[in-house]
Amino acid sequence: MDAKERELLQLIEKNGRLENSTIARLMGISEDETKQMIEKLEKEKVILGYSAIINWTKGTDEGAVTAMIDVKVTPKRGVGFDKVAERIYRFPEVKAVYLMSGVYDLSVSIEGKTMAEVGRFVSEKLSTLDSVLSTTTHFILKKYKHDGLVFSENEEDKRIVVSP
């Protein structure tokens, strides 16, 4: 990855909806170059996808429940943790899986409509897996900041309109 690619990635990591023309002007390159660079990074799976960061608690009662689950597992001979992780991340309810250092092995993030739904997933799907030794489930009560974005309203420009 070269410096220009890194600059482009940093720009769209912050705002995935920037137009190619804007990116081109910000970086001082042509629109064609921008397009090619993005296509290349997509093909190489450096860019995996684009998503929006949504505050689901606003303007809707469609509450979503997120839990972070510490999972202790017995690694499988030959393939280590990867196979167990795969058994887990294939479930669509699972939003993230990380291998962790420390007292447990996998950190699994699950999203469901209700606490009961998440609970059912843990007791029926996760803890019943052969290699899973134990689970500890933490429910998220409130999101303050996610992926670098603050979930609050007081982020407007506080400067005076014209100054020397």
Binding site: E7, L11, N15, L18, T22, R25, L26, M27, G28, D157, K158, R159, I160, V161, V162, S163, P164
Partner: protein, 391 residues
């Protein structure tokens, strides 16, 4: 024009200076809705959190008293390290430095320390609006030297020569410049240094935007030849560290001059705000990565804005530093005041007319690109529409 009733108690010196032309645009823009402002002369970043947190911590620890007049010694030592590391200039923290209430106060006490009544100070225009009035208030006479768009607003040494008289005491330099964004290169500064030496001038070098240069490594004026002995270097935390509201700056220079400035400072200010000094210390020790992050973002936005202006036919040199572009609006046939006022009324975009920065700013407008990408793009659209609708 309404002539206001003036109090008989006012001094002649305060009567002799005009209120800043920026004020009128501020009032006008403040009274309107849906305004996108490119008129803001400060960063759009909030001060980095570690800096704010360091100030909280100092308050919790009870650091609420005065500091030494010159500022916390620890901070001055850190400024010394910082200036050596970043700009290759070395000052003794004990006696060649004073921490001030913004670069603004540093400029004020520098002028008051060196100017005798009636002595002339050369002000390179277009310039930051405070220079000339501050010279006047110090009892001096500001003498403008103009710079021109055909030279990318670079000061021409021969124009200094033309302005020098036997009364000339000092010259105020500002690179990168507000409002033009022009940066003087090492070669430019060397040529200026020759004239300065020839006429035995003192230099007050306002380097508050030194961190924000995008094309070439920065040259600090006192690092040129033997200029250190005749230069008062002014800088501060407002721009590079996004700390305008903290009001913290500093001046460095030869011991005898700095001690004279300290004398004024100790009687008229005591010291700079203590909590801001603790914040500044953290900014110097752990803030460089944030300076780089913010600078990178300004660099991208400079590119965005200069391209957009070029496309709509407003010619503008590529400013090497600060966060301003200074395009020419002469093609519209409007004066810079008319342009700024009509643009604000018709399209709700606030810019600053170049004329408020001195006569040679006429025909230009200052646009600050320290504003979000989305707002900059919208502002560029509106300016384009404004120009097209006039044709």
């Amino acid at each position: 024009m309404i002539t206001e009733q003036r109090s008989k108690y006012l001094s002649d010196s305060v009567e002799s200076i005009q209120p800043s032309g920026i004020r009128r645009f501020f009032d006008l823009a403040s009274s309107m809705e849906n305004v996108i402002s490119l008129g803001v002369g400060e960063p759009d970043f909030v001060t980095p959190w570690n800096v704010i947190e360091a100030s909280y911590h100092s308050l919790e620890q009870g650091y609420t008293a005065y500091t030494a007049n010159a500022g916390l010694l620890e901070l001055r030592k850190e400024i010394t390290r910082y200036m050596r590391r970043r700009f290759g200039v070395t000052y003794n923290a004990e006696n060649e430095m004073v921490v001030t209430v913004g670069a603004s106060q540093a400029i004020d006490i520098a002028l008051r320390a060196v100017v005798n009544p009636g002595e002339e100070v050369i002000v390179v225009e277009p310039s930051f609006v405070s220079y000339a009035p501050t010279v006047t208030l110090a009892g001096g006479v500001p003498v403008p030297v103009h710079t021109y768009s055909k030279n990318d607003f670079k000061l021409q040494p021969e124009h200094i020569e033309e302005a020098v008289t036997e009364k000339t005491k000092a010259i105020l330099l500002c690179s990168p410049n507000n409002p033009t964004g022009t940066v003087l290169s090492k070669t430019d500064l060397q040529k200026i240094a020759q004239v300065v030496e020839k006429h035995d001038l003192l230099v007050i070098s306002d380097e508050i935007y030194a961190e924000l240069t995008y094309d070439e490594p920065y040259t600090s004026f006192p690092s040129v030849g033997n200029m250190r002995e005749r230069t008062i270097l002014i800088s501060g935390f407002s721009k590079a560290f996004a700390m305008t509201g903290w009001r913290l700056g500093f001046a460095c220079g030869p011991k005898d001059i700095l001690q004279a400035m300290l004398k004024i400072h100790q009687y008229t200010m005591m010291c700079a705000p203590t909590m801001a000094q603790h914040a500044a210390l953290e900014a110097l020790v752990n803030g460089q990565k944030d300076v780089i992050r913010m600078k990178e973002s300004y660099r991208q936005r400079r590119s965005l804005v200069t391209h957009a202006l070029e496309e709509m036919g407003l010619s503008c040199h590529i400013p090497g530093g600060a966060f301003y572009v200074f395009p020419s609006i002469k093609s519209t046939g409007l004066s810079s005041e008319e342009f700024a006022e009509q643009l604000l009324l018709k399209e709700q975009v606030a810019v600053v007319p170049g004329s408020v920065f001195g006569e040679s700013g006429e025909g230009h407008i200052r646009c600050s690109y320290a504003t979000s990408i989305a707002k900059l793009e919208e502002a560029m659209k509106r300016i384009k529409r404004f120009i097209e609708n006039r044709e």
